[in-house]
């Protein structure tokens, strides 16, 4: 089996990538600005909802129900989709899915495909597989286009080019679209992209989409977007292929009532997405005449098997946890080494692929809880992070120094006598490092603390000692 998540297996450790990224002042500025704008918009449209709490709860319940009966709903989807004229393919892993999709494109002798924003296709490295087969993929989502033309990687699951500002985007477009001049006004940049994409929409015969939701009882697929590029892709080409992670299933059309309220508000701070496309199978003489759905596992059933962490699959990819995360806002998405960044990426990536490649990710969080607070389906991300850290420790994969420190702490905290002895030992050991009650430099790994912060020395009298003395003096 070849289950992988983009190039995450070869990515550097989070803390190594972050070290470099936090020094990139332009990136920090761009990410801080963009996440700030989205958070403010989100707060306004969430606070105006009297039933936000109930909507979150409903979303959570629907997803929990689906995950308990996923086998049933997947088969129901296959049956309904097939009955409506679609073809359903099952892919166990990334390579299988790529093989199916490349095969379908080749069956139509197509040399080009247009794509609607799909993070799942980045997860399976679909573009690499297509290019290897001599097929050119064109991203049609504006942000994806910026990333593709800039030979860059997405840094956010909803706003993949969030780390770029418009001056940088202007430069990319000028270089890659062969334009002689272009301003950095948003409307001019959008117009340039429109001209670049329009002829591809009209010419290319095969489109590839992802899915926000797949409706089991009708076999329908739903994609929400803001630019109309999705509507073009699902209506103009002759052949449409939708790559759908098996966790995208919802039981009925009515369940969209919940998610189409929570998703746009959480994702972009909009009350409703400008384009909500829902299609079912094939309609003669209208839209694509061939429709394929590729249902992808790629590690998802493994996640489902872990009771403590299966909530991870409830994610509707709104990205609110990224914008809320104080860690993500300092590093941007590239530090996570995966197409899935931020808090959700920190729990999803290590589970989808084997832990050893991404075991630094569960530690890429201060466990502040801001992600859980904004999650529209109430995924308890901090708890899952702790669970995954537990797995790293169980495997004995933690750093040696940390394991020793934890053992020493456990020993010292076992009894008041031991703690007392440890304190006395500490008072002696700290002498060479202490000046005026302050420690400004510690040796070894401990200098990670003192590099930028002082540490108060262990006081000569502890609270416990003061308490005992006080009791003696007052005769209590």
């Amino acid at each position: 089996m070849s289950t992988y998540v983009g190039n995450a297996a070869d990515a550097p450790k989070f803390q190594v990538a972050a070290k470099r990224l936090v020094r990139d002042t332009q990136l920090r500025h761009n990410v801080r600005h963009a996440t700030g704008v989205i958070r403010k918009k989100r707060a306004i449209v969430v606070d105006e909802m009297p039933d936000w709490h109930e909507l979150r709860e409903s979303g959570h319940e629907i997803k929990q129900h689906v995950m308990r009966h996923l086998d049933f709903y997947l088969e129901q989807f296959e049956k309904a989709c097939t009955a409506a004229g679609g073809t359903v393919h099952w892919a166990r892993d990334a390579d299988e899915a790529n093989g199916i999709i490349v095969g379908l494109v080749q069956a139509h002798q197509a040399k080009e495909v247009i794509k609607v924003k799909t993070m799942t296709s980045d997860e399976i490295r679909l573009n690499v597989a297509l290019e290897a087969a001599g097929i050119t993929p064109y991203e049609t989502d504006l942000a994806d286009l910026i990333v593709q033309l800039g030979e860059d990687k997405p840094s956010h699951i909803v706003v993949p080019a969030l780390h770029r500002n418009r001056m940088e985007i202007r430069r990319i477009f000028l270089d890659k679209m062969n334009l002689s001049e272009l301003s950095d006004k948003p409307e001019d940049l959008a117009a340039a992209a429109r001209v670049y994409l329009r002829e591809k929409f009209l010419r290319v015969p095969v489109a590839i989409s992802g899915a926000n939701f797949a409706i089991a009882n009708s076999g329908s697929v739903c994609v929400v977007e803001s630019e109309g590029n999705g509507r073009m892709c699902i209506s103009l080409p002759r052949v449409l292929i939708s790559l759908v992670g098996i966790e995208k299933i919802i039981p009925t059309f009515q369940d969209l009532e919940v998610f189409l309220q929570t998703l746009p508000r959480s994702a972009t701070g909009e009350r409703m997405n400008p384009y909500n496309s829902i299609w079912t199978g094939v309609t003669p003489d209208d839209g694509p005449q061939e429709f394929h759905v590729v249902l992808l596992d790629n590690g998802r059933t493994k996640v489902l098997g872990d009771r403590e962490a299966r909530e991870t699959l409830d994610c509707i990819r709104c990205g609110a946890c990224l914008n809320a995360c104080p860690v993500y806002r300092q590093t941007g998405g590239h530090a996570y080494g995966s197409v899935y960044a931020g808090p959700i990426g920190a729990i999803l990536t290590p589970q989808l692929q084997s832990m050893e490649h991404s075991q630094t990710l569960p530690y890429a969080s201060s466990l502040c809880g801001a992600c859980y607070e904004v999650c529209p389906v109430k995924i308890n991300i901090p708890e899952i992070l702790v669970h995954l850290r537990g797995k790293v420790v169980e495997r004995g994969d933690g750093p040696f120094v940390e394991r020793m420190a934890m053992k020493a702490a456990a020993y010292a905290l076992e009894s008041p006598e031991r703690l007392d002895r440890a304190r006395k030992l500490g008072r002696i050991a700290q002498v060479p490092f202490t000046k005026d009650g302050i420690i400004s430099h510690l040796p070894g790994g401990l200098d990670a603390w003192t590099a930028v912060r002082d540490l108060p020395a262990i006081p000569q009298e502890s609270f416990r000692e003061w308490w005992v003395k006080r009791e003696r003096q007052t005769g209590l």
């Binding site: 803390q15 104080p326 530690y363 940390e402 930028v452 912060r453 002082d454 108060p456």
Partner: protein, 190 residues
Amino acid sequence: MMQRFLEVYRGAEVICIPSSSCVAMIRDHYPKMAAASGDVALKRAVKNMLPRVYEFTELLVDKLGVTDVGAFFPHTVALHPSCHSLRSLHLGDRPARLLASVRGLTLVDLPAAQECCGFGGTFAVKNADVSEAMLSDKVRCFLNSGAEICTAVDNSCLMHIGGALSRQRAGVRVLHLAEILASRDSKGTV
């Protein structure tokens, strides 16, 4: 350690903890750890103990019904609502109400108050660069607030924030909320 904690505090009428992250550990994780152990007696012991566990400001405001403790502290103070106090314990305005009743004290708003300071336990060392970046944001907000003292109900955050203030010779400092409430006119100030 959980078993030892249960044993030590078995007879205590009230367990007062001046650290919201410690309370969160007991409230959020002890029940799960006990359940995972499958030990019925342990589960019962945790269940019996939980109602007696109070975070420091919960004890004062909820159990004792006190917001004015007669403190005197003539300084400008900003309150950092630590993550666990905010999102796990939901302490709400309890710390602020206690501060509001302190004579001489001016409480100022801390910009972006609800942001994590970047401590996060071992996170501060394991991801030192990101932790420092978060800390630098918090310190900037605190300095912009114009306050002389940064207070909180968690000493761990304060050790982190205070460590940076000390290193930068910022001329302002941190104090735990309890230290402010303990200060009196007669005794002078902390």
